[in-house]
């Protein structure tokens, strides 16, 4: 199937998704369930990855800035620069992009498999026979839950990335905590937080909508459900990285 056909199918799918929900109370319950699945169930992995990534970034940046490469004299840059680099890159790139790539694997694959399984077990047909807009009924709570919860995960991830860097600075002794915090403070730009949040909302929409789309049009059996999960993750990752560049170019 051509790229443009897929885009067309995605747009048509979305036109069904954004219709008024049939019953608000049922929709609200589904929204809560999805927020729990996307948010709470992903919290541990986000926490672990953020702390480790923050620590690794700090150690590696410090190592690069103090290395004697023969080109520049060692210790040319003040160690405060490490805090500055970790802070800015966490806000702009590591928190939104790395977190969302992780969530693409966890949440995206899970949504694609769940919806794909609903398709092959005729649950989607059962909704349609009942007169329910199945695309909207299944997908809209997932998209809204993602848009609410994923930015929260990214904010938490951002704090933990910086905390991970601080712990690494203290535990490895590459620099003092004061140097790290001074670096963070000196380079803080509030606009970067706005860019991070824009990325968070865009990526959250991509993760939830693309994975549901991929699952919704699954045909066949268990093998195809697995394939839908893999395709969803691959497409989400590529789209996130492409849109990362677009958002950076537009807003920085």
């Amino acid at each position: 199937m051509s790229f443009f056909t897929e885009i067309g199918r995605y747009i048509i799918f979305m036109s069904f998704v954004f219709k008024r929900p049939d019953r608000r109370k049922v929709f609200y319950n589904m929204l809560m369930r999805e927020m729990n699945l996307i948010g709470i169930d992903s919290l541990l992995v986000v926490v672990l990855i953020a702390i480790i990534t923050g620590a690794v970034t700090t150690v590696q940046t410090a190592s690069q800035l103090t290395a004697d490469t023969g080109f520049l004299p060692p210790n040319l840059f003040p160690l405060e620069l490490v805090g500055s680099v970790v802070g800015s890159s966490s806000i702009l790139e590591l928190a939104p992009t790395i977190t969302c790539l992780i969530l693409a694997g966890k949440v995206g694959a899970s949504i694609a498999s769940e919806v794909g399984n609903m398709r092959i077990t005729e649950q989607i047909d059962a909704y349609e026979v009942l007169g329910i807009n199945s695309a909207g009924f299944i997908t809209l709570p997932k998209i809204l839950a993602g848009i609410i919860v994923i930015p929260c995960l990214i904010i938490i991830s951002n704090f933990l990335l910086i905390l991970g860097g601080l712990l690494a600075a203290k535990l490895t002794g590459v620099m003092t905590i004061d140097q790290y915090i001074n670096g963070l403070r000196s380079s803080f730009v509030s606009h970067y937080v706005e860019v991070m949040l824009i990325k968070a909302f865009v990526f959250a929409f991509i993760i939830t909508s693309l994975s549901a789309f991929q699952g919704y049009y699954t045909k066949g059996g268990a093998l195809e459900v697995g394939e839908a999960g893999t395709k969803a993750v691959t497409r989400i990752c590529v789209t996130i990285l492409a849109l990362d560049l677009v958002v950076a170019k537009l807003f920085l």
């Binding site: 019953r23 649950q123 059962a126 349609e128 007169g131 329910i132």
Partner: protein
Amino acid sequence: MIRLEDINKNFNGKSVLKGISAEFLPGVINLIIGASGGGKSVLVKSMVGLEVPDSGKVFFNDLDFHNLDYSKKQSLRKEIGMLFQGTALFDSLTVEENVEFPLLMFSNYSKEERMDKVNSCLAKVNLVNVNKKFHSEISGGMKKRVGIARAIVMDINYLFCDEPNSGLDPLTARVIDELLKEITQEYHITTIINSHDMKTVKDIGEHIFFMHQGQKWWEGSRENLPMGQASNPELNAFVKASF
């Protein structure tokens, strides 16, 4: 009553339904039989709106289903129940929630009224003490019965069953057959069952449609099935192969 007028359907240039016209009456078991790939499932899906015929009309009483506007179609859909081959129970919901689901979406009943209706439907299909169990915790026969309970909970006028006996042992299959017959007669609904189980034909079939290669090959009552007649070798072969 459901009436089909010259239904045609093609998939990728291959004709799957060829000029099907038929009438399905209320209060009797209408059986669509035929070998796999004969177009039975596509025909049923065309009747419930999961497929749109390339040409032809499906009438529910006098309503032309595929040409109704959205709100009328949605309102007609509430009169339709369907038992799917794989039951299609919602796996995130318990038995009770599955049966309650159509009421929750489309009725204004209070929680107590909904539960009364759910319990009476579950009792109707002889299911007790399974309300809080999930789809994965009950047997195949029980799943079919939950599927029937969910299909009839909305006071339907039309019941469609796609291979209701598939995957069931002979005893349970007979129980499901009897249940479908009882429901059809008690509620005087139009029931259409898609099957290739000749035991079902013998036990409960009243009005039978034999489909072969996308065409209505034969239609008649169980008593008139042309057993062993040279005039209808396809139907004979199907009937013989079933015993």
